[in-house]
């Protein structure tokens, strides 16, 4: 019995690490750049497929691909913001109108990226075997790749947290999140900072996707599910907070692993029920005041 409980908890943690990482990116894009990026999952999918292609076609180590996926997706995100969203932001009549329009534009991006991916890679489910041997961990057995995934997720989250908390650029980002007008007056180039945030969000999605491809099956239509999970996590943890995203991620991972143990078909249903309950009862997140 003890072992089963431990199994469930550890499985939840392993799942939660990934959830947290993909939520941090979305949280940054919505929390600072005010773009509710419904296409977030498509960036994750891109990261996963780039890693898969590099591994199966050229034998590149997936951990090495992390270093390539991140910058590539950063660039895509950065350019997208400059070309599309900054124009929408300047033209919008109100912040609310901008949020609505930018979200709808993201739906368009979702269709574009997903269908380009289907054209390039085909619609089939893909996967590869990497560090798939079992490891004993605190009395339970897990595939080594899941532990690697969790380790990288935590390290990336930590580095990112330090970047926001300690660097000058991080300070500019936080200032733009709190008070864009005032930050602009203080000499922060708002458009560039927001583009940077959107790019960094895409970067996190790319890293998340690369990690996901190591231990889960991937396919071009996988995006929306991950977007929804990321959304649920940031609602759980509170918008714009990195520690919140990690707590929310682990919480959701735990719920997922418990429900999967009891009734596998209901895991997604449970996620949505929690999501809606939190929205109704504590829209500022479980940590929010």
């Amino acid at each position: 019995m003890m072992v089963t409980i431990l199994d469930i908890i550890i499985a939840g943690m392993l799942l939660g690490g990934i959830y947290a990482l993909i939520a941090v990116g979305l949280s940054l894009q919505y929390g600072v750049a005010r773009v509710l990026n419904i296409a977030h999952g498509e960036f994750i999918m891109l990261g996963a497929f780039i890693t898969w292609t590099l591994y199966t076609a050229f034998g590149v180590n997936p951990l090495l691909s992390l270093a390539l996926c991140g910058p590539t997706l950063f660039l895509i995100g950065y350019v997208l913001y400059i070309v599309l969203f900054s124009r929408l932001r300047v033209r919008a009549a109100s912040p609310g109108a901008y949020e609505g329009n930018s979200m709808l534009a993201c739906f368009g991006l979702l269709f574009i990226i997903q269908n380009l991916a289907i054209l390039i890679w085909g619609a089939d489910i893909k996967g590869y075997s990497f560090f798939a041997f079992p490891v004993d961990f605190a009395g339970a057995r897990f595939a080594a790749n899941r532990l690697i995934t969790l380790g990288f997720a935590i390290v990336i989250g930590l580095v990112f947290y330090l970047f926001l908390a300690r660097t000058r650029l991080g300070k500019a980002i936080r200032a733009s999140a709190q008070e864009p007008e005032a930050a602009g007056l203080m000499g922060v180039n708002i458009d560039r900072v927001l583009a940077l945030c959107f790019g960094l969000g895409a970067l996190m999605a790319g890293l998340g996707g690369a990690l996901i491809s190591m231990s889960y099956k991937i396919q071009p239509t996988m995006g929306l599910e991950y977007t929804m999970i990321a959304l649920i996590v940031i609602v759980l943890g509170g918008l714009g907070s990195i520690p919140g995203s990690f707590i929310g991620g682990f919480l959701l991972g735990l719920v997922g692993s418990i429900v999967t143990y009891v009734e596998p078909g209901l895991a997604l249903v449970a996620y949505y029920v929690i999501f809606m309950m939190v929205l109704l009862l504590k829209p500022k997140g479980v940590l929010g005041k």
Binding site: Y30, F111, L119, G265, Y272, L279
Partner: protein, 318 residues
Amino acid sequence: MNGRITTLNRLQRGIVPLVLLAVFALSPLVLKQYALILLTNTFMYIILAVSWSMFSGPTGYISLAPAAFFGAGVYTSAVLGFALPFPLIVITGGLASFCMAFLVGALTLRLRGIYFVMFTFGLVELLLNFVLWWEVTVTGTTGRVVPPLGNTTVFYFMLAILACLLLTAFRLKHSKYGFALQSIGQGEEAAAHTGIHVTALKMNTFALSAFFMGAAGVVMATRWTYIDPRIAFNPTLSFLPVLMAIFGGLGQLYGPIIGAAIFTYLEEFLITRFPYHYMLIFGITMVIAIRYLPDGLVGLVQKAWKQWSRRKHGAAQG
């Protein structure tokens, strides 16, 4: 004199829709089956787009729940299919969606902005996944069969729902409730202070708009004849009406109608010509529409008209 002109205007205004209705009512006599089906599809999308904009247009609350209300209608049709006369099922499906929307509205309409959007979209996914699980584990089936009705009957039912919806939307827009909704969109606090029952009005309008979506779902199910949760609660049916309405323009009642008509035709055209690139082209259209036409087609035409008349006016002066 003035009074006579307004009566005349009113008459003219009433005549155009009546003529259109008569033309459409007689069209099954002339049209081929393919055109009839295309027209039925167009009506379905117009119903979704217009009923969506009935609530979301003036208030600015972007609801992504149309697929949930539509799907509720589809499942009503599948469950009651053989048990009741069809017109009753249409009304039942509409009422089911009405009640669901009323409940959702009571829970969520205090959520503002993006939280409301996320909740309504979560609702679609929740229903989809729940019904999927229910059908597999409890009823042990994946899909259901709906008794077919024949293309012409489906067409007439869709036309009837559309006519009722347009009449309702038009009456609502020009009533005091329409103006109240508009003022909620411009400033909810201010609207409440002028004595508008903000919550009650929002809930009722939201539920009313869901009624028509549900009714359309009931009718459409009989044309599809086979349905499963992924067909009934297809999230695309949440995005399309929103996109169509915004593409057409939310300012006028005919904006969403034009948007829906263009997009249905575009969909048909793209699916037959470019079946593999259809969704890609669709996404590109969506991004371009939002990037370049924030006020929709109607807004674009109005702007061009204003510019043209100003130029003409300027030329006459100079």
